[in-house]
């Protein structure tokens, strides 16, 4: 317990340090303006961090492994297909016709709707194999992907850059209003989510154990899947796709914290993710002056880590 408390204190200090550095480094003369911009960025990163952390840890517990993230279930392909269709229809008028709030809401609704259709399809069929669910989501995702890449082929190259901008997660140009809405949805979902973490502890024992301990297994899994769908949708609609971030942060957390209590793991994972994103953003933006957004780098590093996990260098 003491050990855990120390880790949490360290993580909190780390987060505060990262935020302080990010906010105060090289502010210059127009500091009020810069501070305002940076606080929007930091809040966006915090929201994304919490969404990714909760959804990834929960998803890995449900699927009983350490190498999956919920975003592979097709959420991101739905998002990209929607963006492609919008640009396909409106072309360079896109920004006039659809403001960022409408786009955000539309994206969230589409992704959550997709997830519900997927869940209903699988559970109606009387299957409760979660791998099957994930694989079917993934295959649907590939279908959507090939549809959107076909549409991208016939789009005007100038309009294509609008889509290309959406292909990579980025924290710049985030609308302040969106931040408020997503924060509200996220907080409500997380409050419900954290009240349910004790069930996750039991589910992690395995399906049969959980059932014999008196848990309505299928119902609980469905509830968690819904929570995951909401969180992933918010984070994707807010900043764009970041597929492999979840793998890296959860595994880092498991290394730090050897416990099976999910309330602790998830909380720690939120902190780890926030430190990683904010610290990484600080490094790339101010020290290395890279134009590539941090999320792309995280995606690559996360992907490499996934390979490392899979090649049996580590037991999975």
């Amino acid at each position: 317990m003491r050990h855990h408390r120390n880790i949490f204190v360290l993580l909190a200090i780390g987060l505060l340090g990262a935020v302080a550095l990010f906010m105060s480094y090289d502010l210059g003369r127009g500091w009020e303006y810069a501070l305002g911009l940076r606080s929007v960025k930091v809040s966006a990163m915090a929201i994304v961090a919490c969404c990714v952390a909760y959804s990834s840890v929960t998803f890995q517990t449900l699927t009983n492994n350490r190498i999956l993230t919920p975003s592979i279930m097709g959420f991101e392909s739905v998002y990209m297909l929607l963006q492609t269709v919008i640009v396909y229809i409106y072309g360079d008028q896109t920004f006039k016709v659809l403001n960022s709030f409408d786009n955000f809401m539309l994206s969230v609704v589409c992704m959550i709707g997709f997830a519900f259709m997927l869940y209903i399809l699988i559970y109606r069929k009387g299957k409760d194999n979660i791998y099957l669910l994930v694989l079917i989501g993934l295959v649907l995702g590939i279908l959507f992907h090939s549809l959107s890449s076909f549409m991208q082929l016939i789009i005007d190259p100038n309009d294509f850059f609008i889509i290309q901008g959406k292909m990579f997660a980025s924290f710049s140009n985030i609308n302040k209003d969106l931040l408020g809405y997503s924060a509200v949805i996220m907080v409500v979902t997380l409050i419900i989510g954290f009240r349910l973490t004790k069930y996750l502890d039991v589910i992690s024992l395995g399906r049969d154990q959980a059932i014999s301990l008196g848990i309505n297994y299928q119902r609980m899994v469905q509830i968690f899947l819904v929570i995951i769908a909401i969180l992933v949708s918010i984070s994707t609609a807010l900043i764009g796709p970041i597929t492999f971030l979840g793998i890296m942060v959860t595994n880092l957390t498991y290394e730090l914290l050897k416990t099976y209590r999910h309330s602790l793991t998830i909380a720690a994972c939120c902190l780890v993710t926030a430190i990683l994103i904010i610290g990484g953003q600080f490094l790339t933006e101010h020290l290395f002056h890279l134009s590539t957004p941090i999320t792309t780098i995280i995606n690559l590093v996360g992907g490499a880590y996934f390979l490392y996990l899979l090649l049996g260098l580590k037991k999975i």
Binding site: S146, M167, L310
Partner: protein
């Protein structure tokens, strides 16, 4: 029972028997059809393929009919030889190659959901082509093919290594891992493409499409023929190798060598098709599964069926793609991707 009835009986039996449901490979295979019947079926399928190919020769923007050929209309004959015949030939070869590659991969991993699409091979080939374009801007087709081959071979090796370390887990877990592996590879290529500002062009090259095939630009696809023949000779050995290293060695098989031959064939075929036409997903996955539902799993016997089915499927998809929005075309990569993807979903939902 007459042969026709016994066939129908077997078909019904096959679809109901859980042992034949994809996802469960069982050794041996209980295909009990006589030699004559086998030949008759092969003949029938070949006839269908022939008819489809003939149709494919006469479908297109330029109006060419069979009378033009009889009348020796030089203008139209030239068109047939420059465009229509190369296109149809490469469709057939690509169909045979890709579906047989899928079959080998399924045998080697003993998992019916593995194929070039679900093992990251297609994404690796894309990455290879992109690498050749970046490193050697004026590279010839052969150089590109070599790059694609090297990347595909390496990726397949990595994939097999992964499968070994998760062997005794859920059947569905293996393709899941492979698809994620492919996702990582393609996110690396996209990243590189973004920095060079060629995302849209790259997607255009990689989308499977036979409309650009002309005489003098498709001959590389013949490279995959030797690989296909090699596969036929080694068919049974791949099955044995799929049963594990110890088992294969006990039967006196050089495990490594056979494994490498299999990977070599698959990589050669996939990269040749990738260079000539672009990526065609799900073909290698769906065709062997359909054949196995109908004809069973004795691959020495079903191999011709897989080849015939694969090429017929591809030719038909291409004809449909040429007709739907005539005079424009829907790229075959998308046609097969959508049709194949839907069939894959049905297969997944059917399995218990």
């Amino acid at each position: 029972m007459s042969s026709r009835f016994s066939f129908i009986y077997k078909f019904k039996h096959a679809t109901k028997n859980p042992a034949r449901i994809p996802g469960l490979l069982y050794a041996g295979g209980e295909l009990v059809i006589g030699k004559l019947q086998q030949h008759r079926r092969e003949l029938g399928l070949s006839l269908i393929l022939l008819i489809c190919s003939l149709i494919s020769l006469f479908v297109g923007v330029a109006d060419i009919s069979i009378f033009d050929i009889i009348n020796q209309n030089t203008e139209k004959l030239r068109l047939v030889f420059i465009s229509r015949i190369p296109r149809t030939v490469s469709l057939i070869i690509a169909g045979v190659g890709l579906s047989i590659s899928g079959l080998i991969m399924q045998q080697m991993t003993q998992n019916k959901f593995v194929s070039p699409t679900t093992a990251g091979s297609l994404d690796a080939a894309k990455m290879g082509i992109l690498a050749s374009i970046i490193l050697i801007p004026a590279s010839s087709m052969l150089v590109k093919a070599l790059f694609a081959f090297a990347f595909t071979f390496l990726a397949s090796l990595i994939f097999l290594k992964m499968v070994e370390s998760i062997r005794y887990r859920n059947v569905i877990f293996v393709p899941l891992v492979g698809l994620m592996f492919g996702g990582i590879l393609s996110s690396i290529s996209t990243f590189a493409a973004v920095n060079l500002n060629i995302v849209q062009q790259m997607n255009a090259w990689m989308m499977g499409d036979f409309s650009g095939i002309l005489e003098g630009r498709y001959e590389l696809i013949y490279v995959s023929l030797p690989a296909t023949i090699l596969t036929y000779l080694y068919a049974n050995k791949f099955t044995v190798v799929g049963m594990g290293q110890d088992f294969a060695k006990n039967l006196g098989l050089n495990y490594r060598a056979v494994m490498n031959i299999g990977l070599f064939c698959v990589s050669l075929t996939v990269s040749a098709v990738m260079i000539i036409a672009g990526s065609i997903s799900f073909l290698g996955l769906v065709v062997p599964n359909i054949v196995s539902i109908i004809y069973g799993d004795n691959i020495k016997k079903t191999l011709p069926f897989v080849a015939l089915f694969g090429s017929t499927f591809l030719v038909i998809c291409d004809i449909i793609g040429r007709l739907v929005i005539f005079p424009y075309e829907i790229p075959i990569g998308m046609m097969v991707g959508v049709i194949g993807g839907v069939i894959f979903l049905i297969l997944l939902l059917r399995q218990r």
